[in-house]
């Protein structure tokens, strides 16, 4: 009851955000260089043809009406049509979404699995070699642009060492995608016990996920480190030492459990950030996801997919933030709803 009310209220609070995003996406069509009608009509269109196209697309109507049509279309799942593929954007999106989700979830997993221990070690061995190393790795990961790390990885692991496959998509050529369950190849092939596909999809996923994950390790590790440092100095950790609890318990159970609470927030933020950042990585690795789709659209000035991509990232962020709030309540008893 209380929980349901809470979620509903949080969803209602997301509405103003979504309104703002829709306005931005809508205006963007007009800010982008090039008239959308011109893009669609092609370079050799006559002025009459252009006017006809504008009328067809509703661009001659007053803007409130256009906005209303845009919003009602979006709500119904009509995201417009891609000028370059000629297919509805929603269809293209649905097809590419699993690839992006797979890549982002894998990157987030890497960021968390590497970032948390790195943060804990840095805090426990504060100002020692380990701490400094963690700092360097973290800062380098953030400072290096993803396209550069991506290309470096491809150069080293594919070209030089030849331990990674060619950076072309989600499966090696000649390997069939697994039976569709979730659309995430790794999970689907696990479910259907399709080991050949599992191996190939993991192999393909390895480099792009490492590239994208690397940029997210630092925020996680830094957050864990600073929270751990604060918590290790707290009264209850001093009390835990004084109570004779073993080091393992004090650091990995008492302190880490408390330090993980802010990590949930940072994971939410990082996920949103990965959603936007994957565009570049997907391009480098020819990953058939929505980021790659958006970059292609950007290069061809295809407005509907760009609009939809922005809207999609914004909506994802809203949903992830909601999920973070709910997760908070599960981990921190102080926020648990009465």
């Amino acid at each position: 009851m209380g929980f349901f009310y809470y979620v509903t209220r949080r969803l209602a609070l997301a509405l103003p955000t979504l309104f703002g995003v829709s306005v931005i996406c809508f205006t963007l069509t007009y800010l982008l260089p090039g008239n959308p009608a011109m893009v669609k009509a092609g370079p050799f269109a006559t002025p009459e043809h252009l006017a006809e196209m504008e009328r067809q697309m509703g661009l001659d109507r007053p803007w409130p009406e256009q906005y209303f049509r845009y919003v009602s279309g979006t709500v119904r799942g009509d995201l417009g049509e891609s000028a370059s593929t000629g297919r509805p954007v929603s269809q293209d999106f649905l097809q590419r979404l699993p690839a992006t989700l797979e890549l982002n979830l894998a990157s987030l997993l890497i960021a968390i699995v590497v970032g948390i221990p790195l943060g804990v070690l840095s805090a426990v061995h504060r100002d020692t070699f380990i701490d400094h190393l963690g700092r360097v790795v973290g800062i380098a990961g953030v400072a290096m642009p993803s396209f550069l790390t991506g290309l470096l990885f491809v150069y080293v692991f594919f070209y030089m060492l030849n331990i990674a496959p060619s950076p072309l998509g989600r499966l090696e050529s000649g390997i069939e995608p697994p039976q569709h369950v979730t659309g995430l190849y790794v999970i689907d092939s696990l479910i259907t016990a399709n080991w050949t596909t599992l191996r190939s999809s993991l192999h393909q996923l390895m480099l792009p996920a490492a590239t994208l994950g690397l940029s997210a390790i630092a925020p996680v590790a830094r957050m864990v480190r600073s929270t751990m440092l604060e918590i290790l100095e707290s009264d209850y950790i001093k009390a835990a030492w004084a109570a004779g609890l073993p080091r393992r318990t004090v650091i990995y159970r008492d302190a880490l459990r408390n330090a993980l609470i802010p990590v949930i927030t940072i994971s939410g933020i990082v996920f949103g950030f990965l959603m936007a950042g994957n565009a570049v990585v997907e391009s480098v690795f020819s990953w058939p996801g929505i980021g790659n789709y958006a970059v292609t659209a950007l290069l061809t000035k295809d407005s509907a997919p760009i609009q939809s991509f922005i809207l999609f990232v914004a909506v994802t962020c809203v949903i992830v933030n909601l999920a973070v709030d709910i997760a908070y309540g599960l981990v921190d008893p102080r926020i648990r709803l009465s």
Binding site: Y236, A242, A243, L245, D254
Partner: protein
Amino acid sequence: MTELLNISDLTVHFQINQGAIEAVDHINLTIRRGEVLGLVGESGSGKSVTSFAILRLIRPPGRVVSGNVQFDGVDLGSLTEEEMRRIRGAKIAMVSQSPRTALNPVLTVGKQISRLLMLHAGLSAREAEKRMLEMLRLVRIPAPEKRANQYPHQLSGGMCQRVMIAMALATSPELLLADEPTTGLDVSIAAKILDLLRELSARTGAAIMLVTHDLGVVAEICDRVAVMHAGQVVECAPMRELFHNPAHPYTKALVRSIPRVDRDVVLEPIPGSVPSLVNPPPGCRYAGRCEWVSDRCRVSRPPLVEAAPGHVVACYGFEEHRDAN
């Protein structure tokens, strides 16, 4: 009564950029079995550091420079870290200052007590739970079954302190280090907590080292009192003796600064403040605030000498001012 804990020549320094803070300076202290020893002094006089040093929990930038702590005939300094850990919480337990923040916020209070029982007493989960509820009942927490499943933020400050005491006494320690156990609690709750400590120590035979800045608390439950000033023990005496015949000028001043309702006296604050402990000058550290100060006090440190049986004081001038109040 036999000696339980014997601290000799303990010195603790904290290294900072400007030099070393001499937080605890060559102190000697004895706690006997079953007694309640009050350790009194202003903030920054080294009381809490002493209790952490007993548990060997001084961490960098802090450092134990010299000293020896004998507990139950064992030199704690000679133990391995693992042996020391088995003593902490089991034989020497601590009740921390600020009960609300000294409990882990994400564990239920019941769990925090029962896990110590499983760790130190080797009880099974079920036995530990049973014993934990007994402990909560012993510290008079109403509806212990309900409270055990609650988190610290759902309990009042006084209730949290009862939980801390239950936690500390659960493993029947021989020594309880109670660090300002009543700060932050209102007067009536504080009095109840003190009664509880006294009663439980009498029942279990545990000795208590009560760290406090409040002489009222000392008068309430202590058998003996040690007075600390700027990292040094300046006087140590049985409780009544200390209140009636304080020998050290600092103790006299402390006693004079207790508000009284039965007599119409003007409260006298102690002039000055605790001197800087960063590279302090040789000699008596109270010299800068002392009315009896002589040249000798500034150059050499007065040793602890017996003023009366069981009553020691570190002051060159106490003999000539014996009758002054």
